[in-house]
């Protein structure tokens, strides 16, 4: 299995099984966020931010950078920074 050399996004767009996998992932993130809103005690402070996302507020970006306003279609997912603030040096909160 050689390392592919063609540009990444072309291959992402062409991967036949990926749209279905991504649709399932979005549904998972949405359901997770809705559960967090319903039961904030079980998930700690994450719920507060999911509520914010659900209200389509613009969450402040980390690192002092302004973040882009969340889109209505953005999955309300629970940010990893609740569990892994050091992850990859940046937030994965929804950005539009």
């Amino acid at each position: 299995m050689p390392e592919p050399s063609d540009p990444l996004s072309e291959r992402l767009a062409a991967a036949p099984g990926l749209p279905t996998l991504l649709a399932e992932a979005r549904a998972t993130w949405l359901a997770r966020a809705e559960r967090a809103v319903e039961a904030p005690a079980a998930t700690g402070a994450a719920a507060e931010h999911d509520v914010d996302a659900a209200r389509e507020k613009a969450p402040a970006g980390r690192g002092g950078e302004p973040s882009v306003r969340a889109r209505p279609s953005t999955p309300r997912w629970r940010a990893f920074e609740d569990a892994f603030p050091t992850f990859y040096q940046f937030t994965n909160r929804p950005r539009g």
Partner: protein, 385 residues
């Protein structure tokens, strides 16, 4: 591996795109890493920390000096994290750790722990200080065999006892797992283990060659891709826990297809100040703290007992020199040469240094294992469906 110089990507597969994130270093971080003690009660085979057998505690005055700046930063943002790490934080003791936390206002405290010291009293502490917990464990007893005490005895039972205490007290926790040898079957096994463990989130770190850990991390490409593909399948079948790497790859893929991937990286690199026990500040890579090199010195940007933390960060980010300037040139070379830059943001500083001996290089084994083969493994899985 060769890549197009201008990455054809997010906005249109046929239109060259320059990734706009990670240009220069931000003057305000999103978190700081604090080393309350150099001591760890364990002696894990792959640990990168050079002074983990010595108990050098951070004075409260150092934490107060850090808090002087951090409290102002935190007041200006929605979230700011103080991560207690780099040594076993609980080895500092509750009284001392509490005294170190006391000067901070408006921050989220995180502790990354080996869990072996967790008892009810520590759980009371976590609740009182609203601490978010990350536990380090690598799977079942056999998979966690690299985590041993100073006598070489397995720490697994003590780790599990600590985790059981967290569960009994209904304290949520994330798990960090180090994978030392990605092989077929491991992804499925690990996901089942962590699903049953009770963690709400899982991060998977393929072992890195850094610090005092000189073990090679040059793994077979197919093994690593197969490992990530297997984890993708396991998560898809039962997405009960947040699986950090796989979900991040899917999030990137979703944005790439939507044409919004260029928005994902932060506009500037987070300076990630690590404050060592003695107040010295190392930016960008906590793994560099405590090391010295003939070319780069001790990697420190100063000491909070001599200048304020924001002054130290400003000085290093406004006029980067030495290894930081070299690292920034390396990031630009990653941007120019690597098709995965939009997903990765550039090879991490410590991985460049400990694998390649400089900060100017680009693709590291860590890049291959944890970025390139990660997204390729997810793609392999998707294509096979």
């Amino acid at each position: 591996m060769s890549h197009d110089r201008t990455v054809s990507g997010a906005l249109s597969p046929r239109r060259p795109v320059v990734w706009h994130g990670m240009r220069g270093i931000a003057s305000v971080p999103s978190y700081v890493i604090m080393q309350p003690t150099t001591l760890c009660n364990l002696d894990c085979a792959y640990c990168y920390l050079p002074f983990r057998a010595a108990d050098r505690k951070m004075p409260v005055a150092v934490a107060s000096a850090v808090a002087d700046t951090v409290n102002r930063w935190a007041a200006g943002t929605e979230r700011f994290s103080v991560v207690w790490h780099a040594g076993e934080p609980l080895a500092a003791g509750r009284a001392h750790l509490g005294a170190l936390m006391a000067p901070f206002r408006g921050v989220e405290h995180h502790i990354q722990t080996n869990a072996t010291l967790i008892d009810d009293a520590w759980c009371d502490f976590f609740i009182e200080h609203d601490v978010r917990i990350g536990v380090s464990i690598d799977g079942d007893a056999a998979r966690t065999a690299s985590r041993v005490d100073r006598a070489g005895r397995p720490a697994y039972d003590k780790i599990q006892k600590g985790i059981e205490t967290l569960r009994r007290r209904a304290i949520p926790f994330a798990a960090l797992c180090v994978v030392s040898a990605p092989t077929a079957g491991l992804g499925t096994e690990l996901y089942a283990f962590f699903r049953d463990l009770g963690c709400h989130a899982l991060g998977v770190n393929v072992e890195e060659q850094e610090g005092v850990n000189a073990r090679s991390n040059a793994f077979d490409a197919n093994d690593v891709r197969g490992f990530w593909a297997e984890l993708t399948a396991a998560w898809r079948a039962d997405p009960a826990i947040e699986l950090r790497e796989i979900e991040w790859a899917l999030w990137f893929a979703s944005n790439a297809i939507d044409g919004t991937a260029d928005d994902l990286l932060p506009r500037r690199i987070d300076p990630i100040p690590t404050i060592a026990h003695d107040g010295s500040v190392v930016l960008l890579s906590p793994e560099l703290a405590g090391f010295r090199d003939g070319r780069y010195g001790d990697f420190a940007s100063g000491n909070v007992t001599e200048a304020s933390l924001d002054q130290l960060v400003d000085r290093a980010t406004d006029r980067p020199d030495g290894w930081i300037a070299e690292y920034l040139s390396g990031v630009e070379e990653c941007r120019r040469s690597c098709a995965y830059f939009g997903f990765c943001g550039g090879a991490h500083a410590a991985n460049r240094y400990f694998e390649q001996g400089s900060f100017a290089g680009t693709e590291t084994n860590h890049c291959r294992n944890s970025k390139i083969r990660l997204i390729e493994g997810v793609l392999d899985y998707a294509r096979a469906q």
